[in-house]
Amino acid sequence: MSKPKVAFYWCASCGGCEETVVDLAEDILGVVEKVDIVLWPVAMDFKYQDIEAMADKEIFATLLNGAIRTSEQEEMAALLRRKSQFLIAYGACAQMGGIPALANQFSRDQILEFNYEKCPALDNPQKTRPTLSLQDDGRNPHLPEFRNVVRTLDQVVDVDYYIPGCPPTPNLTKAAFEALLSGNLPPKGAVIAPDIALCDECSRKATKPTNVAFTEFKRPHQALADPDLCFLAQGMVCMGPATRSGCGAACTSGNMPCTGCFGPTSRVRDQGAKILSSLCANIEARDEDGINQTLAGIPDPVGTFYRYGLAKSILRRRVDLNMTASGK
């Protein structure tokens, strides 16, 4: 019997998720022993035509990382969906939009204008912007279209499972592979990670006060954090209470507060709104001025609370941005 085929693909991502696959270290040998890798642009040479030539559902599982921003990424997502039995959103960007989804605070024009005209480090006197197609020396190359909206994978195609994290940890990846290969699968749509808040596995859990009373919010660069005390008790924004566990509390063990990359647990629809709710309710002040003074320590609520989840949040995108027609 031939080995099950597995594909890795990346869209709007940084490459960190690919790194995790490599971080499986010697365990990756166990994986490649059991599967055939048929697509992995970052590490191996395969052609998209080979994928197109496959029968539908011929690939056993595709692990796709990165958010979806361009027409090419959409097409690849749809193609891999058709060719795969299981399509897995791998990492925070594919699951929730991730860092690239912070661009949902700006319109396409604002982004293009900054990157091709206003960026201080730019040398582009003609203000050339990418075009969808051009004539060059008798050839007619074309570029994918840059969409108005950054999307999660499941806003574009149907997704079977999610592996969270920025990036997912090797342990989770291994566990997911084991589940897939053994056929011992959770219900469709599940996030393959524990369904409980990060605090549960944080070593500082015992020092979390029953009554947190914030008088100020400090950002990590503004104070030297105590290595043992709960970040909330130190007046630091920690996304832990609104974030799924499974990372082994990597950040809080490294003396940095959680930034929320694993997304919410299954009981929460909107991670940012939930942590806003929790942090604010525990402010000490009772009058507007006092409250706002404390809240001055959170200058950018969207960037803080939706650092990885803006595309998947209830509002998804700044709502007053216009949509510009394609073809530019």
Partner: protein, 177 residues
Amino acid sequence: MTREWKPRLVAFFCNWCTYTAADLAGVSRLKYAPNVRVIRLMCSGRIDPQFILEALAKGADGVLIGGCHPNDCHYVEGNYKMLRRFQLLKRMLQDMGIEEQRVRLEWISAAEGDKVRKVVNEMTEALQALGPLGLPGRFEEWDREVEHLAATVQEKEAAGCACGAPAEPRDTEVAHV
């Protein structure tokens, strides 16, 4: 069929003060704008910011929150929790492009039936002036970008390769970035 747009206002009222005030407005036969849909909760402190976002996303043009005056909360602290959440939520909504007047917090005691009338009327007028928020429509508009996706891929595949017929000569070259 086109119907004239009228503001849709979702109101979250606490059981002990503001909802009772709305009842009082009713039995006192006060007339106020019919645009409001009242949802009763036990306490303004029960209002999860997710409820407010969800209301807006599902088509509300504005959200009104009513709770007990400071020091009057039946559960001692609930209204303060709402006030604190509201301060940051207000800022966050502005950052997300939602006008400040669309979400309002008011303390209305059980005796203030007339304040319910006044606040609902004021807010309906403000929303009328602002125009529709129309989030469901905007989401649809955003999604139209990817509407034809699956069809495009199938089409390309059929035209491109994997089927016996020779592929059309490609006059374009795709730069995969």
